[in-house]
Amino acid sequence: MEKKIRILVAKPGLDGHDRGAKVVAQALRDAGMEVIYTGLHQTIDQITHTAIQEGVNVIGLSIMSGAHLPICEKLMKEMKKKKIDDIMVVVGGVIPKRDILKLQKMGIEGIFPGGTPFDQSIRWIKENLKKRM
């Protein structure tokens, strides 16, 4: 039997808009993944700590305030420091097109701006995790 994908759905920073994160979490769960939802107001330290504790395959950030660039930069730095930069990182939320390349350059592999159909992001995660194995 295939081992379940473990994915952390995290709300970093001060932004309190969690509708998208909770909707995606439910979709991922219905797709057979083990979802850990962090709740609001998480620091990068807390997120990386939880990722390690829970042994996740993927860290998913949901950012609606527009602060995705500084937040993602911080996350990638911290992951390197904690030596977990091999964990896949995906980001969703209010992400303008022009920032997608910048995020990819940081090492964010999957970018799913608001409105991305569930099956698209789920398929992407499953396929790209398979590729790594």
Binding site: L14, T43, S65, G66, A67, G114
Partner: protein, 542 residues
């Protein structure tokens, strides 16, 4: 999305229409429907301005007075925000609604490490009274009311507002602020909470109690169904939860020994407008009637003013789309129509670039023009509650009313709104529905033009508001200046006094006023509260 579910046959004929509230709409309504629901024009309608106020809270509606327009406004430094306030006012806006950045909303100063990347991004940065002074410079506060979209630290912002008004020579009984000040909806659907529910509700009680005497023209709360609907609840739940939240705040003030008629008239509501037009209009009419009933029957209110549902009907963020953004201009026009047909006292619209970022001046002004055209050209000032007596609208209003009562009962059975929030019941319900709606859109069962139907056409370039990193640096500079120039001994003393008052459960407003006048910072005052009250722990719903 808010749209109804349309069940069609192969010939694209509509077989059934199911509103988000679960009500089915018939192809035709006649006088028989009014008979069936037991419609009584005296009991169910009455003239506008008379109990139960279904038709409106004023006898002449917009004939005597236009609604107030208040676009949600604020970004960067207080100076930039002040300029935008003046721009909107010069274009005919009649009220203000201040947007604060996330650090301010979360009680953090601009130099706090947790504020990094967020200073001035989604609203104006405020660290001390100095920022408020700049933000409201040259604004006639005796003529223009200021909505303050602030919740966890609403008490601080209200004290700061009073200090500012007094500094500019306005009498505190002449100025009108409306702090949003609704923490329970934060815990359900907006996320800008700090302290646990019980002390947070006590703070709200303090602001209401204080305003009764010191700021009589202030509306100390704007209870929000808006954000709960934005998070995924139905229009019926929007009203039911908003009313139960309001009841929680009412009971906090009654607990202190005050009479209902001494304060409840200061309550206002913030309700959403996106989705099916008829559903929203019926919702507003049912809400007005039920609020009056709620006050009369549940709390024994006798004063006329206590029974009036005064509302900002606006938004509706969730109806706006990223795809084909110019469509949002059209949506805005229809949402404004819903608000007007619903008899709103105040209106605000999300601008067409809503799904991207905070509005450019062009987008914000278009929203303003939408209101002006509606009122000046289309005839929405002509007569009060024009849809009254309609077989359809009166039937729908009654059906909405019944469903709202049902939902309110459910919350009562759970032991009230604080319990419902602490256990996560409401949050679960809201998240579940949000998921259902999203699935509906992705599967094409709920139509969203430009998103899952009529998606042809080129992608449009949208001019976007740019976040200036420099505004964060400027803000931190000013904060450091303020801390250098103020009397730090006074600040330390006043913060100590604030802490003692908070611990003794005294009304903290006079203490906050002293702190603000001494240029204590938002972060410093919040820190005192955090130490006394602790922090809210979100219930896990997964």
């Amino acid at each position: 999305m808010g749209v109804a579910r349309y069940i069609k046959n192969e010939k694209d004929e509509i077989q059934d229409v199911v509103l988000q509230s679960g009500i089915h709409i018939k192809p035709l309504y006649t006088e028989k429907d009014l008979e069936e629901i037991g419609f009584d024009p005296v009991r169910d309608l009455a003239p506008p301005g008379e109990y139960p106020f279904t038709r409106g809270i004023h006898p002449l509606g917009y004939r005597s007075r236009e609604w107030t327009t208040r676009q949600y406004t604020g970004f960067g430094t207080p100076k930039e925000t002040n300029e935008r306030f003046k721009l909107m006012i010069s274009h005919g806006q009649t009220g203000l609604n201040v947007a604060f950045d996330l650090p301010t909303q979360m009680g953090l100063d601009s130099d706090d490490p947790l504020a990094e990347g967020e200073v001035g991004r989604v609203g104006m940065a405020v660290d001390s009274l100095r920022d408020f002074e700049v933000a409201f410079q040259g604004i006639p506060l005796d003529r223009i009311g200021a909505g303050l979209t602030i919740n966890a630290v609403a008490s601080i912002m209200l004290a700061m507002f009073q200090a500012t008004a007094e500094k500019y020579g306005f009498r505190k009984d002449r100025v009108s602020a409306t702090p949003q000040n609704d923490i329970l909806k934060e815990m359900i659907g907006r996320g800008a909470w700090i302290f646990p529910a019980k002390p947070a509700v006590r703070l709200i009680g303090d602001t209401i109690e204080y305003s009764m005497k010191e700021l009589p023209r202030t509306n100390p709360v704007s209870v929000c169904g808006y954000h709960i609907r934005e998070s995924g609840c139905s229009p019926v739940q929007e009203i039911a939860y908003a009313f139960q939240i309001a009841n929680t705040y009412i009971e906090e003030v009654l607990r202190r020994g005050h009479a209902i008629d001494d304060f409840v008239r200061g309550f206002t509501f913030n309700l959403n407008v996106f989705g099916n037009l008829w559903e929203q209009v019926a919702k507003f009419r049912a809400a007005r009637k039920l609020w009056a009933k709620n006050l009369k029957e549940r709390y024994g209110a006798k004063d006329h003013r206590s029974l009036l549902l005064r509302g900002l009907f606006g938004g509706g963020g969730y109806g706006m789309t990223k795809a084909q953004p110019e469509n949002n201009i059209i949506r805005g026009a229809y949402y404004a129509l819903a608000a007007a047909l619903g008899g709103a006292q105040t209106a605000a619209l999300c601008s067409f670039d809503e799904a991207y970022t905070i509005p450019t001046p062009r987008a914000a002004l278009l929203s303003l023009r939408t209101f002006q055209i509606l009122m000046e050209e289309i005839g929405l000032r002509d007569t009060v509650d024009p849809l009254a007596g309609s077989y359809f609208i009166e039937t729908l209003t009654k059906e909405m009313e019944e469903k709202i009562i049902e939902e309110m009962k459910r919350v009562d059975e759970m032991g009230g709104m604080i319990k419902a929030v602490e256990t996560g019941y409401v949050q679960k319900e809201v998240a579940r529905q949000a998921y259902e709606f999203e699935k509906g859109v992705q599967m094409g069962e709920l139509i969203k033009v430009g998103v899952n139907k009529y998606t042809e056409g080129e992608e449009m370039e949208v001019e976007l508001h740019e976040y200036r990193l420099e505004s964060a640096e400027e803000q931190v500079q000013r904060l450091r200046e303020v801390k250098r120039e103020r009397d730090n001994r006074k600040v330390v003393q006043f913060l100590k006094d604030l802490q003692s008052a908070a611990k003794a459960e005294k009304n903290i407003m006079p203490y906050l006023l002293e702190c603000c006048k001494a240029y204590a910072t938002v972060g410093e005052m919040t820190k005192v509260f955090k130490e006394v009250y602790g922090e809210f722990k979100e219930p896990s719903i997964f």
